[in-house]
Symmetry: C3
Subunit: 112 residues, 3 copies
């Protein structure tokens, strides 16, 4: 945690982004670099019968609550870096999912 | 947004449903048709060692909060249309996930 | 429901675990065994350019709210059983997602 979950982004791009994005993201979040995992989930997006997967990018960030300021700063950084990486060819959506400490367990122990 | 995320439904069926369901759904939601994206996520479902993927359908709707009335109306429409499409051969579950405007960013800007 | 959604676990392992885990989980949750579905979602996890998928396990439990005590007990059971199953070779994270009855529909009817 945090987890950066990429949907409809190629496998190799997620691998590459896990290097490109990690240092600065960790700095903004104020956490160790190796806390941030990058996940590739295979999906396809359709709009009225047309496959528009390549024109969109969904990044879902799953983490414990940070301040709105930190979140805004991270979204701004991720958006601009992803825009550069993909030559502004993708519509970028970033969604933050807040996890409750009481519902999150590592090795059987929750984070309360 | 809204996103209609289909799990354990064939790729070609999601593509087809993105045409079948879009007009009436947009009417119920009261949004432009091209706001609704249809996503295919590959998954498999097991029950006690048996693959029951083909007998179940999960549709997860990710959107900003609408009234319970609109949500009920949409669920009723989606359920009946999906039942017809699949000849009543699938157990249909529809789950609505509410997103907070503060946690949703397009092009780096949140929706507050 | 409940749904046990496994990410970065092999297909055959999820199939096998749907037998291994179902009886005792149903006992802890106090629900019929056949209410619990086991899902395989294909994903890959990277850490700074390295594929670490095989060393991590994410289990996301999607259900209606139970007491913290029941949840803790289930997490403890799942963690220890998964540890045994995988010979302690995986870092195990279990995340509980609470669904609202008003947002969950089977056959077009919500659970309010």
């Amino acid at each position: 945690m945090p987890r950066f979950i990429f949907k409809n982004v190629e496998f190799e791009d997620v691998k590459s982004l896990s290097q490109t994005l990690s240092v600065k993201s960790a700095e903004i979040i104020d956490c160790p670099i190796d806390w941030i995992t990058f996940e590739h989930v295979s999906n396809t997006i359709f709009l009225e019968g047309n496959d528009i997967t390549s024109s969109m990018l969904f990044l879902e960030v799953s983490w414990f609550k940070r301040s709105q300021e930190v979140q805004d700063q991270l979204a701004t950084y991720l958006n601009s870096t992803l825009n550069k990486y993909f030559n502004e060819e993708k519509e970028i959506t970033i969604i933050f999912h807040t996890l409750e400490e009481a519902n999150y367990y590592e090795e059987g122990q929750n984070f309360l």
